[in-house]
Assembly symmetry: C2
Homo-oligomer: 213 residues x 2
């Protein structure tokens, strides 16, 4: 990517601490051992820049040298193409990892988001109980599929992959917001423990997951 002698420029990730799409990207970049600087979305310099960098103004946006890359799924494809290691080498594994990342971004994300939005920033007596119940019901419905896809493997696509970055971020937030993971899913429990013990997990996790410093 770089001409010999050209200075390395550290990539900048415009992000938001609790955004699961941002956390997925942070996990992916950590897995690649790719250095990056985080720039919070609400930093005074970020607000005006984000409007210029992305038509939607949403984070994450990765700036790597001259390249401006919005949208987490576009970013992770770029990371894989330029650094590798996020997807298995064989075709079936690549399909599976991408599919589970998509499922995480959409179906899993929708369920967990209901609970987060119903609780965040409110005292328990003001939580939206109906919304919490709907989110948990949707979450419980998707666990059999995830457990079956994991099977007896250590990670969703065999080796640690983009699927685990995406699902790890969603599970991390789910656990922090009190979404239950029933004991009837021992494989998913072991997988989450495995993911949460990886060195990059706490380093990249939102404050709500790591707790007060």
């Amino acid at each position: 990517m770089r001409a010999p002698g050209e200075a390395a420029v550290t990539a900048i990730l415009y992000d938001k601490d609790e955004c699961p799409f941002c956390w997925k990207v942070r996990l992916a970049m950590h897995a690649q051992a790719r250095p990056f600087t985080r720039r919070p979305h609400d930093h005074p310099d970020s607000v005006s820049e984000l409007g210029r960098l992305s038509v939607t103004g949403k984070v994450p946006v990765l700036v790597d040298g001259e390249l401006v890359i919005p949208e987490s799924s576009v970013i992770t494809e770029y990371l894989e193409e330029t650094g590798g290691g996020l997807l298995p080498r064989h075709r079936a594994g690549r399909v599976k990892a991408r599919l589970l990342a998509y499922y995480s971004d959409n179906t899993v994300g929708k369920a967990v988001r209901e609970v987060i939005f119903a609780k965040r920033g409110r005292p328990p007596e003001q939580w939206d109980r109906g919304r919490i119940d709907a989110g948990i019901a949707a979450w419980l419905e998707l666990l059999p599929y995830l457990s079956a896809e994991l099977g007896e493997q250590r990670y969703f696509a065999g080796d640690y992959s983009l699927a685990d970055c995406a699902l790890g971020a969603r599970f991390g937030l789910a656990m922090a917001y009190g979404v239950p993971l029933p004991e009837t899913y021992p494989r998913l429990h072991r997988w989450y423990e495995r993911v949460a013990q990886r060195p990059g997990f706490r380093e990249t996790a939102p404050r709500v997951v790591t707790g007060p410093a």
Copy 2:
């Protein structure tokens, strides 16, 4: 992908005539000159199979030999990896084509869908006028961005790419459902004419676009 002497198996695309995600995939496969058999989602054989092939049961699902690939964005990454030609070779072009395909799937899709859902299957006196207006307003808001991204190029990422497959399908449906493309966007008009004149366009288009046979 295939051992010498092994028989070629034609890929099967489970799809829906008017589904823009399916049409995007059909355009992409046509651009690659990759043979495929369409199996309509409502064919008696498809209904039970789709539940088995995809956890969401949604089309498109591509079955290529042993591999089962749901979700249009996972399919197009698979098509690119195994056949190429859907994304430019240089990094900036790959980012741009993927980003515009994402924007088409989401932002453009949301605007056009409002108009389609308000009109489809109803006589004009039963159209939901409020929903149509909302869809058209959202559509008119996104045209300046698309026109700027196209610039003076023939296609969105220079050569014909995934971005044109995605946006071509959305524009085709928008035009068929009477969504206006103002004359103040001559570049987008010329682009759409160019896309609609490509040999694969009519061959892969839904009946609502091609009109009665």
